[in-house]
Amino acid sequence: MNNIRKNKIKDQAFKALGMLFTLFGVSVLVILIYNILRVGFTRINWDFLTSLPSRKPEEAGIYTAIIGTLDLMLLTVIFAIPIGVGAGIYLEEYSKKSKLSSLLEINISNLAGVPSIIYGLLGLGVFVRYFNFGGSILAGSLTLSLLILPIIIVATREAIKAVPPSLKEASFALGASKWQTISDVVLPSSFGGIITGIILSLSRAIGETAPLIVVGAMAYVPFVPHSLFDAFSVLPMQIFNWTTRPQQGFAVAASAAIIILLLITFVMNGIAVYFRNKWQKKLK
């Protein structure tokens, strides 16, 4: 077999391998979703959504977990968005090339790579113990806010970078101040990109379990949190807890809860992608 034929075979073989692997990735996704639907779909009913967790698998529900997730997301949004967008604006519009700005950038890039459980330890040491917030929804949301902060900052910066400098020039030439230019020209133009980043960061936060376990989210919370300092549970925590129980009934409940969680995650990602496409079209 001469070289040319050998090379052609290698080429075709690799192409087949590539297709195989790519389809493998997709099929794993399909298998995962199929299996979870198969086991858990029938378990989902109104009772499931509105019952409290229980020691008996047939009676267990995700009510407190869902409320906890919603409350937690609301608080996280309140903390993380102003700080994240503000930091993004500062880094992109105000800070000039200096040692300080490089330090800030390197630091943020590093924070993005820190494992989420370390954020949990941070939350435990600072919010739960030092500030004495306890294993509360306040401590949990502060911890998650710090976790998603780098994502929001990067998204804000990218969105602002995409605004053409000629628009800022036009604004300055008309006598606008720096902040007026940012608030009246830059932010409206980068709005879509920022919103996309926020939604993506939230969909990430919704699935986080490890840092919340460390901060003290409980698996068995038979009440709905009423104040910032109450204990709380979230959906992924509930799933984790049920997964570790031996009874088959809990495996079914876990599957059902996973369906809900995946639904929320996919819907949020879908909305984010929709916004991103809309915004990118606008830029053109």
């Binding site: 052609k8 997709v26 995962l32 941070l122």
Partner: protein, 291 residues
């Protein structure tokens, strides 16, 4: 008016500084408790003992047991993700028609968006029983299932970032190779991959860092037995799942058990920080090549 502008700038600056506070907070918390821990346990024992049993009556504090669990699962994950991720990247970049690439890339990225607790459930309830059909001696909790599932989760990390790196290689190089009669396979491995090597390496390092820091998959499927081993069929415990175990329990504040999670966390942080720094440095040094 100028005062208002200065005030706004100050507020925004403070927002940016919270990120620095976060890092300081992480380092302070980890160091503070670890230093206290090392007053009771010698660093030598911590680094050389191969048993980790702080929750038993006979206490050993050898981090190597947890480190081996962490690295075993991460190694399996990379063994899965690297060949698959890189092949997929090359395939999508050089073989697949554009429409294929456009639809498949987002689908693969969905793999990265699935919450890890779902992957953990998948590993324990579907992958392990499946593997047990092939190898009946596989224990219920083992690093193989967890590692494989982690690898699947990480595939988009390597495939997307490597594909971007390949995409960034100037077309002229690709065309030059084709012009000389190279097949796509030859072009891919002799020209494109070397040209994109720094980006690909960065993607691998980041994937490793991600695998080392992963918690839920291993907490659910790999077990809670800290063992210094390379056997993928038996339960192990990673640094991350140990921290989860203690946090789910009732270790009182100030107790030695409580402090162990910070010592373990510090170890983890040092590993991931080093990896991230190396990848940042490589990116910086070699990205200039094509810009």
């Amino acid at each position: 008016m100028k005062i208002k502008e200065k005030l706004i700038e100050l507020i925004l600056k403070l927002c940016a500084f919270i990120t620095i506070l976060t890092t300081i907070g992480i380092i302070t918390v980890l160091l503070f408790e670890s230093i206290s821990f090392f007053r009771s346990v010698s660093i030598f024992e911590f680094l050389t003992d191969t048993e980790w049993t702080p929750l038993f009556s006979e206490k050993h504090f050898g981090i190597l047991a947890l480190v081996s669990g962490t690295f075993l699962t991460a190694a399996i994950a990379i063994a899965v993700a690297l060949p698959l991720g890189l092949t997929i990247a090359i395939y999508l970049n050089m073989y697949a028609p554009k429409s294929f690439r456009k639809t498949l890339k987002p689908i693969l990225e969905i793999l990265a968006a699935i919450p890890t607790v779902v992957y953990g459930f998948f590993a324990l309830s579907i992958v392990t029983p499946f593997l047990q059909n092939i190898y009946p001696d596989l224990e219920t909790f083992n690093s193989l299932s967890a590692g494989i599932v982690m690898g699947i989760m990480i595939i988009p990390f390597i495939s997307s970032l490597s594909e971007d790196a390949l995409f960034a290689v100037p077309k002229s190089l690709k065309l030059a190779a084709f012009g000389m009669g190279s097949t796509r396979f030859q072009t891919a491995f002799k020209v494109m991959v070397p040209a994109a090597s720094s980006g690909i390496i960065v993607s691998i390092i980041l994937a490793i860092s991600r695998a080392i820091g992963e918690t839920m998959i291993v907490a659910i499927a790999a077990g809670q037995q800290a063992q210094f081993t390379l056997d993928p069929t038996i339960p192990v415990q990673t640094i991350t799942s140990y921290i989860v175990q203690v946090s789910s329990g009732d270790a009182p504040q100030g107790s030695l058990e409580y402090k162990t999670i910070f010592a373990a966390g510090l170890t983890l942080f040092l590993f991931t920080f080093s990896l991230n720094t190396i990848s940042f440095w490589i990116k910086k040094k070699y990205q200039e090549k094509y810009e």
